[in-house]
């Protein structure tokens, strides 16, 4: 029985670790669904969960590269705070002076400034790590303190608000979604793209004479992926916007609507951002030389060096990428709150590292996947939200999350030992 199940999954080309993570996630969800009397697996809660996961998950994709190359980044939470403060000041204090309040380009310039600064700071950290050979643990521990302090200096500790209205849409909420029509359009498009990619990849493999999965397995896999995409879209499109808010939005947008007008949320914009980031990062990790070098360097730094890979420059690039992703995460986090306070992103570095590690990224280097990190972030957030809904005290929540982290890594170690990878 066990063997036939194993063969079934082997044919599908889904590894057991992925199955394990999804199994754990489903288990957690069902457990909370029961203990919250059916409030957990609702469109409303899953919508919120998806939005709450986005910021940490975006950073976790970058943390995968960092941990794969045997580094660590303890500074992302503080950097997220600093970048949030800077972007808050840029959009609320600086740009309105030149462009006027509510100018259409404010949010765009703000986001670019944030990403640019994030990349610069990340690249600098990477340079200190790669070229000056100070261990990443120390450099980013320093950064952890420096950026939190620097965030305070931006506004002398004052909370920045209100943020630009368009910018705030990037954080989700009733208005910050694609809406029903666009969500369906995106869902259908994504499903078609996924099918196309899988079919094309099969064709190229066949052309090169490389053995492919059996047809039924490929078919099942395609069916699963399409069901997942369509199911998610349908779910997000079944979360109704409260009538009064819907009426307000319709009025603000100048729609002429009947009295019994209702609208649904659809996919939240931060989730769209997360999906885009995850897809791009997956392509980078699997289809670019840069990604290949990241894994090669993590597997055997000396071999990478001898193969002509400039591992120092690679370190700079990896941390620059992390900085850019932290800026994107900062946009999501600050836009969601609608204001930037001094404590934005506090402890996020630990959530991000935990997400990557729960997602199967090995601290010894060389192994880790983008989808794993995203699922890891989702597991962490599910635990946290679920416990909050059940009404577990905050200190106990920390205790549980901490123990789950250690347990997850232990299971991963056992798994690796068994499979010999």
């Amino acid at each position: 029985m066990q063997n036939s199940a194993k063969r079934f999954f082997a044919n599908l080309g889904i590894d057991l670790r992925l199955m394990g993570m999804i199994g754990a996630l489903v288990l957690i969800w069902i457990m909370f669904h029961i203990t919250t009397d059916g409030r957990f697996l609702t469109p409303r809660n899953l919508f919120n969960l998806s939005v709450q996961t986005a910021s940490v998950a975006v950073m976790a994709t970058g943390m995968v590269f960092i941990i794969v190359t045997r580094h660590i980044d303890l500074s992302v939470g503080s950097l997220l705070g600093l970048l949030g403060m800077v972007m808050g000041a840029v959009q609320a204090k600086i740009l309105p002076e030149y462009l006027g309040l509510g100018h259409w380009s404010i949010w765009i310039i703000t986001v670019f400034v944030g990403i640019g600064l994030g990349v610069l700071i990340g690249a600098f950290q990477g340079w200190v790590i790669g070229y000056l050979t100070v261990p990443a643990f120390i450099v980013t521990l320093g950064g952890f303190l420096v950026y939190r302090g620097a965030a305070w200096w931006v506004t002398s500790g004052q909370t920045v608000a209100p943020l630009d209205p368009t910018y705030k849409l990037l954080g989700g909420g009733a208005e910050g979604t694609l809406g029903e029509t666009l969500s369906w359009a995106l869902g259908v498009l994504a499903a078609i793209a996924a099918v196309a990619v899988m079919v094309l990849s099969r064709r190229t493999k066949e052309r090169h004479g490389i053995r492919v999965k059996p047809g039924w397995a490929e078919g099942t896999l395609i069916g699963l992926v399409v069901a997942l995409i369509v199911g998610f879209t349908w779910l997000m499109n079944s979360y109704k916007v409260p009538d009064r808010a819907a009426a307000r939005i319709a009025e603000a947008r100048g729609w002429d609507v009947p009295d019994d007008f209702t609208m649904n949320h659809g996919i939240a914009i931060p989730v769209v951002i997360l999906l885009a980031v995850a897809i791009v990062m997956t392509i980078i990790s699997r289809r670019t030389r840069f990604g290949r070098y990241v894994y090669a360097t993590g597997g055997n730094p000396e071999a990478a060096e001898l193969s002509g890979i400039n591992t120092r420059l690679l370190t700079v690039k990896i941390f620059a990428l992390m900085g850019g992703l932290t800026a994107i995460a900062s946009v999501i986090a600050s836009a969601r709150l609608g204001a930037v306070g001094n404590d934005l992103g506090t402890l996020d570095e630990l959530r991000v590292i935990a997400a990557a590690v729960i997602g199967g990224t090995a601290l010894s280097g060389g192994f880790g996947t983008i989808y794993g990190a995203v699922i890891g972030a989702l597991i962490m957030q599910s635990l946290q939200s679920g416990m909050a809904m059940v009404g577990i005290d905050a200190p106990l929540q920390s205790i549980v999350v901490g123990m789950v982290l250690v347990l997850a890594v232990y299971i991963d170690i056992v798994y690796r030992r068994r499979t010999g990878s």
């Binding site: 190229t204 493999k205 052309r207 090169h208 004479g209 490389i210 392509i283 289809r287 670019t288 030389r289 990604g291 290949r292 070098y293 894994y295 090669a296 360097t297 993590g298 597997g299 055997n300 000396e302 071999a303 990478a304 060096e305 001898l306 193969s307 002509g308 890979i309 060389g366 192994f367 010999g420 990878s421």
Partner: protein, 252 residues
């Protein structure tokens, strides 16, 4: 004996680590279609000497000539540009990647849009492995799952695939069984006949006597001498390695 231009000439190479002269003013050369053995105890400096040629170390001094022209080799990429390929004793494989990724590491085949073309690389990998090690089948496993001999053949394939002119083999048979050792010996003969020059680092005298045309012996970072293998006996070579003594009546 040879009037051709040497394929490689290393002149007066020296390098020190923290005051220890690992390689102390050593000169060696290599002609097309020739196998030169580098012999010596552990720590004699043979691997260090060769790492200056492969770009892994930067020499403190000395000059390298490739085809009679001065070559600037500061890193492994430079060495590869001169068609110098190296099979390291440690094999230098990324254990977490599969055979094809290791074969093309640093020189990936890419699609027109610039993405790595894994399928094409796997197909090429299957071709060359079919030639070098027909029994090899584990194309989709990380190389950590391979046996010592299979790993070795991946490392060899990497050096051979890219049309090396100069091949450095650092203890290529150390981890191999008799059958695989024989395969390496045949491969060396074949590469030799294609006009490739090979530096073979070894501390197995029999390997050297069997496979090499000349042997350069090192001791304590210095070159004891270079001899034609056909002019000397096993004992002569042992004397050079152990005592640093040049055999009598042989031009060094």
């Amino acid at each position: 004996m040879n009037t051709q231009t040497p394929l490689v000439e290393m002149r007066d190479m020296h390098i020190a680590f923290g005051g220890i002269k690992a390689v102390d003013h050593v000169s060696v050369d290599l002609y097309p279609g020739e196998v030169v053995g580098l012999l010596g105890h552990n720590g004699a400096g043979k691997s260090t000497l060769i790492k200056m040629l492969s770009g892994a170390y930067r020499a403190d001094g000395g000059e390298i000539f490739v085809n009679g022209e001065k070559a600037e080799i500061h890193n492994p990429r430079d060495a590869r540009r001169y068609n110098i390929e190296t099979i390291y004793q440690t094999l230098a494989l990324a254990d977490n990647l599969d055979a094809a990724s290791n074969l093309f590491l640093g020189r990936e085949l890419v699609t027109p849009v610039g993405f790595v073309d894994d399928d094409a690389m796997e197909a090429e990998c299957r071709k060359i492995m079919g030639r070098l090690n027909p029994n090899f089948q584990k194309f989709n496993d990380p190389v950590s799952a391979l046996s010592g001999g299979q790993r070795q053949s991946v490392a060899i394939a990497r050096a051979v695939y890219f049309n090396a002119r100069i091949l450095i083999m650092d203890e290529p048979t150390a981890a191999l069984g008799p059958h695989e050792t024989q395969m390496v010996a045949e491969l060396i003969q074949q590469l030799k006949s294609e006009g490739i020059g090979i530096f073979l680092i070894s501390h197995d005298i029999h390997d050297v006597m069997q496979l090499c045309d000349r042997a350069s012996v090192m001791k304590n970072g210095k070159l004891v001498g270079t001899v034609d293998v056909s002019d000397v006996t096993d004992d002569d070579l042992l004397g050079m390695i152990i005592l640093g003594k040049k055999p009598e009546g042989v031009a060094c």
